[in-house]
């Protein structure tokens, strides 16, 4: 055997590395010492209950917000310490699909998608128009170029957001709940789009989602954030098969979507009955 293994150096294909990430608001730790790595070509799905800090985590990963402590290495550079110029350079390499679209309300759908191209590429306008059409076709919105975001439904807006995030053909795509609010068919379309981007074009995707069907359909790696009593910690991490096999009751409740269990959203039915009877 050769003593110097060359190209299979595992750290070289790490695109995103999070170390000891802490985010607290007014002394309450929403994210509490997270550590994980995303490798090139993965579809990394972040799951977790509402309010567990998924959006907060994504905002930190894209450099929109500085964490309380910890570091985030994106393409090998620590974005928590990067200057604005360095950040801008890194930002050209990824796209972000916001939870609520964040579309420019004063612009049409077409202009929204064209903006990153106009600003960052030397492509001429007729070609930009063509790329816009292609991106809209990808998300099933052909013919909606001249609509304003306010004239679209919530699910349509999300898909425009996704098209805009993909406009510059990024190496890395962040997507905050791309399928919430979509019908089953559109969910499948958007999942297929993520799959095509990652498997065929080689895009790495970091997707936040709490739609389990969709998660298992697209993920190559999954991470579950805790909430309630386990707020801010990673409950489980691994391949979809490892997650299915993980016996953690918290995780299993989430994966199966059951109302009763360790996730303390409400009192359990027994406790609830006791609570009511005591009050009476």
């Amino acid at each position: 055997m050769s003593p110097t293994p060359k190209k299979t150096n595992p750290s070289s294909d790490v695109i995103l590395e999070v170390k000891d990430l802490v985010q607290s608001y007014n002394g309450r730790a929403v994210l509490n010492g997270l550590n994980f790595k995303v490798r090139k070509g993965e579809t990394f799905v972040i799951m977790g209950g509402s309010g567990c800090g998924k959006t907060t985590l994504l905002r930190i990963l894209i450099g929109a917000q500085k964490p309380t402590s910890g570091s985030v290495h994106l393409f090998g550079e620590d974005i928590t310490k990067a200057s604005s110029q360095e950040l801008d350079r890194i930002r050209l390499r990824f796209g972000m699909n916001f939870q609520f679209g964040a579309l420019f309300q004063s612009m049409t759908v077409g202009e929204n998608i064209a903006l990153p191209l106009q600003e960052h590429s030397q492509v001429d306008p007729s070609l930009i128009e063509m790329i816009v059409k292609m991106k809209l076709e990808l998300v099933g919105l052909t013919g909606f170029e001249n609509f304003k975001p306010s004239e679209l439904s919530g699910g349509m807006r999300k898909r425009v957001g996704l098209a805009r995030a993909l406009a510059l053909d990024p190496e890395l795509l962040f997507s905050d709940e791309p399928t919430s609010g979509l019908d089953p068919v559109m969910t499948a379309v958007v999942d297929q789009l993520t799959l095509d981007s990652t498997r065929k074009i080689g895009v790495t995707a970091v997707v936040v989602s709490h739609d389990m069907t969709s998660c298992f359909r697209i993920a190559t790696h999954m991470l579950m954030l805790g909430n309630g009593p386990r707020q801010g910690e990673i409950i489980a991490e691994g391949t979809p098969d490892e997650i299915r096999a993980n016996p953690d009751p918290f995780l299993q409740q989430f994966v199966r979507g059951e109302a009763d269990g360790p996730i303390a959203f409400r009192l359990s039915q027994d406790d609830y009955l006791k609570h009511l009877l005591q009050e009476g």
Binding site: I62, G63, A64, K66, S83, S84, Q85, L87, D88, R89, R91, L92, M96, F98, F100, A102, L103, F104, Q105, S106, L115, P116, E119, H120
Partner: protein, 260 residues
Amino acid sequence: MKFSFESLLNAGGSRLTYGLLNLRILGWILYGFTRPGILVPSQILSQVIRIGVQAIPMASLVSLSVGFILAMQSSTELGKMGADSFIPDLVSLSLMRELGPLLVAIIVVGRSGSAVAAELGTMKVNEEIEALRVMAIDPIRYLVVPRFIALMIMLPCMTIFGNCVGLVGGWAVCTLEMGMPSSFYIMRAMQRPELWDLFSGLIKTAVFAHIIITIACYQGLNVEGGAEGVGRATTSAVVYSILWIIIADTILTGLFYFVL
């Protein structure tokens, strides 16, 4: 020590104080002259129309009324002393030096300053500003600078136009009501003011334009907390702009009066 415009563009990092906003606007404008594509003429033009041209009817109406008022008010007093012939002087001097710049600025605060604060504030609440940043598009360059340049160009133009409309108001009162010959009014109104009278007014106008647009953008970009925050920012933009316009006016008038 090496100084570059680039260092101004991101002065202060992610914080945005009023001073930093001014530094960054300055940085982008200087940078924009050295590199094409940074200042987009079509965007500046659309802002010229939205925050300048569309405010002209209102500014004209106010200027016209002020012309009427100045002529009527002064005619009572000056008439008693038989100094009717000074009315045109008074109308044109007060418009150029003081009332033209001040009133047009206040109209623009109410119409355009508030609109800019509300628009940027809504964009902030909708995460649109965040989306721009994530696309590596600087919101100051993309949103603030075109509005800044547009108002710095338009407010002086509107003030000059307003002055002319005000003079027409004065003329209407003097000729139609007091029977002054038109030629006499025009001669007095044009002859009396010196170039400096116009310039001193335009210096004020430039300062007012700077106050209006920077305060509106600053309030808009710093909105926190939903629709309520947008409302608060809009109110603050209007209140602070008017306050600072009056303070700046006092200081400048004092400067012109005592020093120059």
